[in-house]
Amino acid sequence: MKNRLKVLRAERDWSQGDLAERLQVSRQSVNAIETGKYDPSLPLAFRIADLFGLRIEEIFLRDA
């Protein structure tokens, strides 16, 4: 699943490590989600959405 995580992170000038710390996950997890290698669970997706103050569908995009 595609997502806007990298863009949103860059807008806030956060490194992957910064985002990982805020989400309480490993940096490897952030990298896997960003690159589309791993789709987060619904609870983690909500945490990500809450952190950026957006809705889940504004961050994670449906596959065409």
Binding site: S26, Q28, A32
Partner: protein
């Protein structure tokens, strides 16, 4: 992830996990070759096996550092690595004790049964370690990664076990003791980790 979890240790033992893994594998191969040629065997191999097993200490330390550098060392992973090291050392200790008792005391009956079972006892701790990791790991991606690698290990055990079993049945391969399932599974686990890492690197490049 806590600062403590991200802390890396330095020093000779804390570097290059691949180097220590190769050294460990090479030591085991050398011991196996010496046993095959008759230079070693039974209890005489034990000091060499014990020395080779000690290589797991720097290997674990180096693996911790590698995982920390990759941003993948959670507190649960750190505990898993430590428990796996304890299991490995305990396994060699129990195996050594069992072989020494068998060779020097020539046990019979219940004692023979006891020492035959002894090397399998650390397996309880091993299985518990796997189960605890799945329960304790709060990072869902790391848990998914480890579970996937474990399934690849299981696939390797099932495939090689079935293949070798039929080769034995048809008389074209020698008998292999069933306790080989654990080393084969461990190789599969390592292979699984390598496959996952390779997939991550491919995803990074795209």
């Amino acid at each position: 992830m806590s600062q403590k979890a991200a802390k890396t240790e330095t020093g000779f033992a804390g570097r290059q996990p691949a180097l220590w893994a190769i050294a460990f594998a090479a030591a085991l191969c050398a011991i196996a070759y010496c046993e095959y040629r008759g230079f070693l065997g039974g209890w005489r191999s034990l000091p060499f096996v014990a020395a080779a097993t000690l290589l797991l200490v720097p290997l674990t330390k180096a693996a911790n550092n590698r995982q920390a550098a990759a941003g993948a060392l959670s507190p649960a992973t750190r505990r898993y690595n430590r428990r796996m090291l304890i299991w490995s050392l305990g396994y060699v200790l129990c195996l050594g004790t069992a072989m020494t008792v068998r060779n020097y005391l020539d046990p019979q009956g219940a004692l023979l049964w006891g020492i035959a079972v002894l090397p399998s006892v650390p397996m309880i701790f091993f299985v518990w370690t796997l189960a605890r990791y799945v329960v304790e790991e709060e990072d869902e991606y790391l848990r998914y990664r480890q579970t996937s690698a474990a399934l690849i290990g299981l696939a390797l055990v099932l495939l090689t076990g079935t293949l070798w079993g039929f080769l034995e049945t048809f008389g074209v391969a020698p008998h292999v003791p069933a306790w080989w399932v654990v080393p084969v599974w461990a190789i599969g686990l390592g292979l699984g980790q390598m496959i996952m890492t390779s997939a991550e690197r491919r995803a990074d490049r795209t």
